[in-house]
């Protein structure tokens, strides 16, 4: 009924949750159906025959989230949201801690990419010490970071997304996992597991353990590399390279079958951001920031990551714990940009290693402009894996790599420091302010997933509009909505640190889209 004029008493968040969960179907991917309703003096009014589909939880991603799809009377999606429902709060509870603890403390943010947080945090601490770290420490940190990109990308592509690619988007959810892949294509599953192991073992050899190593410290790394460990790592490189080569051939062979998905999976113009070397080459550790637009034209270059606040804005939306980051000069709605493998390959002129450069050339042929479809994140991931393995090999063969001088010792010489690096999922910033005693007074983390937030939301809407239609909602439709999220490989545990109470907004909409009532809690 569109004629409801009386303000309707709104349900509390808990009531809505209860209402929703009553309609939750069993299984990993349930979708709920309920009618927007309000209660006036115990009377239920049907406001509109519209439906909301909630995918909760989104599966095969890292962290907790849900997706809400809003359907109109014709059963067409008119709005969609990707809600991040978890909250971590590292920015707040590190306050008061000595800055020297920060790298290991921040590494606890994530079990998949602790190394990225270690590196970005240690770089911010290097800035607090105001030292230049020994060259060997710099190279060792690079290897450490590259090893992590390999294992994290392998996890994302093989463990989480390969079921969609190999078994199809409409596959039985019970089979859509790494075991299903193992059944259908054992070699592929084994390759993925081996590749992740390869990366994890390098991390273990360098840092002492695979998850949350504390080896990266302010001023460098805590222990030098031994010749035995170097040789052991070098021995594993040829196999890893072979796997990467095989996997790239496999993935390229599947692309033809996903024309529709490629066209609708976040295929829209946005900016792309990434750190590049001074010569424009791909890097994960250090460099200047570049922005390119959808046509592949440079929008900004040589931006210092330490000045990120000048060109990046952060906004909190009431329906998610995840901050949305945007390119300031273009404003909130126009400044949507993407980071991560796709963005890095769009901003970089070259990889700088022979095999990866060949693949990059082919990748750039996918689209005359920048490669826009987020479906190609997967492809980009594999090219990056190739680059990482090649790059690690050359770093390990550097005669300087066994040097024992790997740590610069200093007291805090600056009260503010920014550290940035390319994490597997995109550019990562750690920004700290300390007092004279060296205790953290303020911290801000800008995480790749937050930077992709706006693009992810737009992608969810695009996919949902394209696939979710009609009276009967199928698993395949909804799985595609999830699959586009998986393409970004979001890490929600990494990215949810905005402090304070979650703002809550409830809107009551009539079928013509008019806001009948709204309650906002900030």
């Amino acid at each position: 009924m569109s004629g409801v004029e009386e303000p309707i008493i709104l349900l509390g968040r808990n009531d809505i949750e209860k209402l929703l969960s009553r309609h939750l179907c069993a299984g990993l991917i349930g979708f709920r159906r309920f009618r927007d309703c309000g209660v006036v003096e115990g009377q239920e009014h049907i406001v509109a025959e519209r439906r909301t589909i909630v995918i909760d939880p989104v599966t095969r991603i890292e962290g907790h989230s849900k997706i809400t799809l809003h359907l109109n009377e014709e059963g067409q999606v008119y709005d969609a949201q990707f809600h991040v429902t978890q909250f971590r709060g590292f920015e707040k509870f590190c306050e008061g801690r000595p800055f020297s603890e920060m790298p290991a403390l921040m590494a606890r943010i994530c079990g998949i990419c602790p190394v990225s947080h270690l590196i970005a945090s240690a770089k911010a601490c290097d800035a607090l010490l105001a030292v230049r770290i020994p060259p060997t420490a710099d190279k060792l940190r690079r290897i450490f970071g590259l090893a992590q990109v390999v294992q994290s990308h392998a996890l994302s592509l093989f463990h989480l997304s390969s079921p969609d690619i190999l078994l199809g988007m409409d596959a039985d959810p019970a089979k859509s996992n790494i075991f299903g892949v193992l059944e259908k294509n054992p070699q592929l599953a084994k390759d993925g597991i081996a590749l992740r192991k390869f990366g994890q073992q390098i991390i273990e050899r360098l840092g002492g353990k695979r998850i949350h190593p504390a080896w990266v410290v302010p001023g460098g790394v805590s222990d030098p590399l031994t010749a035995d460990d170097r040789d052991a790592i070098l021995k594993t490189i040829p196999d890893a390279l072979a796997i990467a080569e095989r996997s790239i051939v496999w993935l390229k062979g599947t692309i033809e079958g996903f024309r529709q998905e490629i066209a609708s999976f976040g295929n829209f113009p946005t900016l792309f951001m990434g750190i590049v070397k001074p010569d424009g080459g791909l890097t994960f550790y250090d460099g200047k920031i570049r922005f390119v637009d959808a046509s592949g034209t440079l929008v900004a270059k040589d931006l210092d990551p330490a000045d990120y606040q000048e060109f990046l804005g952060e906004k909190v939306e009431p329906w998610s714990y995840l901050k949305s980051t945007y390119y300031k000069p273009k404003g909130y709605s126009e400044g949507v940009y993407r980071v991560g493998p796709l963005a890095r390959l769009n901003v970089a002129d070259r990889c700088g290693t022979p095999r990866a450069d060949q693949e990059l050339a082919e990748f750039q042929e996918l689209q005359r402009t920048a490669v826009l479809s987020s479906f190609h994140y997967h492809h980009a991931r594999l090219i990056e894996i190739l680059y990482c393995i090649e790059r690690m090999e050359s770093l390990l063969n550097d005669p300087e790599i066994l040097d024992k001088h790997v740590r610069a010792i200093a007291k805090a010489n600056a009260l503010e420091g920014v550290g940035a690096a390319e994490a597997p999922r995109g550019t990562l910033f750690h920004h700290y302010k300390i007092d004279e005693q060296g205790l953290i007074r303020w911290a801000n983390l800008v995480i790749a997933t937050g930077q992709n937030n706006l693009a992810m939301n737009k992608s969810v809407l695009q996919v949902a509009k394209h696939y979710v239609k009609g009276e009967k909602i199928t698993h395949g439709m909804l799985n595609r909505v999830e699959a586009v999220i998986r393409a970004y490989d979001p890490c929600l545990s990494c990215s949810t640190h905005a402090a304070g109470q979650m703002a809550l907004q409830i809107q009551l909409l009539s079928p013509d889209g008019a806001v009948l009532d709204e309650v906002v809690r900030n």
């Binding site: 008061g96 801690r97 000595p98 020297s100 603890e101 790298p103 290991a104 403390l105 606890r108 949350h212 504390a214 410290v217 302010p218 805590s222 010792i409 007291k411 005693q437 060296g438 205790l439």
Partner: protein, 252 residues
């Protein structure tokens, strides 16, 4: 007459043999001098009694209560570090009851402040952590208190993190008894007790502190640490203490 029984003129006679006390620990017979404690005897005979506040070279205060033992004839548990031996004493150093109490004490230590091993400078080199593992602690059954405790990093070289302090008072004793500076003391009562430098002033402003670092190295946890250490890097060096004490005593 054998030479050992000859008492030289001007020297003290050897203590008569009747002053030796005999006692049983865990069913085994031992002998001890009357001024010795149960813990002294146990230590000499390699019997493990857990403790956190006790440190060889410092006086004993019985603060941590981990060394509680059962003594026959007493319905109270007695702290081994400050209980003198007596003739015919029968001591039990380990029983299910003692093990349960000891675990409970460790659990309460963990709940009292914010001991977060994974991000602590002393992770892997911590007496509290080691003891918890040794005593088979797997869970904490009490609610955590999460007190708001501060970190004082005003000293040029050292940091005190009250989140990790277990009030063992090793720092207080080493500073008073060995260094002779008495910078550290305890203020407040009960749950509000905390160690302070001088009269609860910032450590960096302390006029009495000699910056010798003994307190840092006797501290069993990450409460006292050297500045600039990353997580798990703070290793304590304590071997100096018994030698220092020995040298002092031999000079007296």
């Amino acid at each position: 007459m054998s030479p050992t029984n000859v008492v030289k003129p001007g020297t003290k006679p050897v203590q008569p043999a009747s002053n030796v006390k005999t006692l049983q620990i865990d069913g085994k017979d031992f002998s001890a001098r009357p001024e010795e404690t149960i813990l002294d005897v146990a230590r000499q005979n390699k019997i493990f009694i857990p403790r956190l506040c006790e440190l060889e070279g410092l006086s004993d205060v019985g603060a941590c209560r981990l060394c509680l033992v059962e003594v026959k004839g007493s319905n109270k548990l007695l702290p081994a570090c400050v209980t003198r031996v007596y003739e015919g004493m029968e001591v039990t150093t380990n029983s299910p009851r003692l093990a349960a109490y000891r675990r409970m004490i460790i659990e309460l230590l963990f709940t009292e402040r914010n001991h977060i091993c994974s991000v602590c400078v002393s992770n892997g080199h911590c007496d509290l952590q080691w003891m918890a593992q040794k005593l088979g602690l797997t869970h904490v059954h009490f609610p955590y208190r999460y007190p708001k405790a501060n970190v004082d990093a005003s000293h040029e070289r050292f940091v005190i993190d009250h989140n990790r302090c277990i009030l063992c008072t090793r720092c207080v004793r080493v500073c008073d008894e060995i260094e002779g500076a008495h910078v550290w003391d305890v203020m407040g009562r009960g749950i509000d007790a905390k160690v302070v430098t001088d009269l609860n002033e910032a450590w960096g402003n302390s006029e009495t502190c000699t910056s010798c670092g003994k307190c840092v190295h006797v501290c069993p946890t990450g409460a006292l640490s050297e500045k600039g250490h990353a997580v798990a890097e703070m290793e304590k060096r304590r071997h100096f203490l018994p030698y220092l004490t020995m040298m002092r005593e031999s000079q007296e």
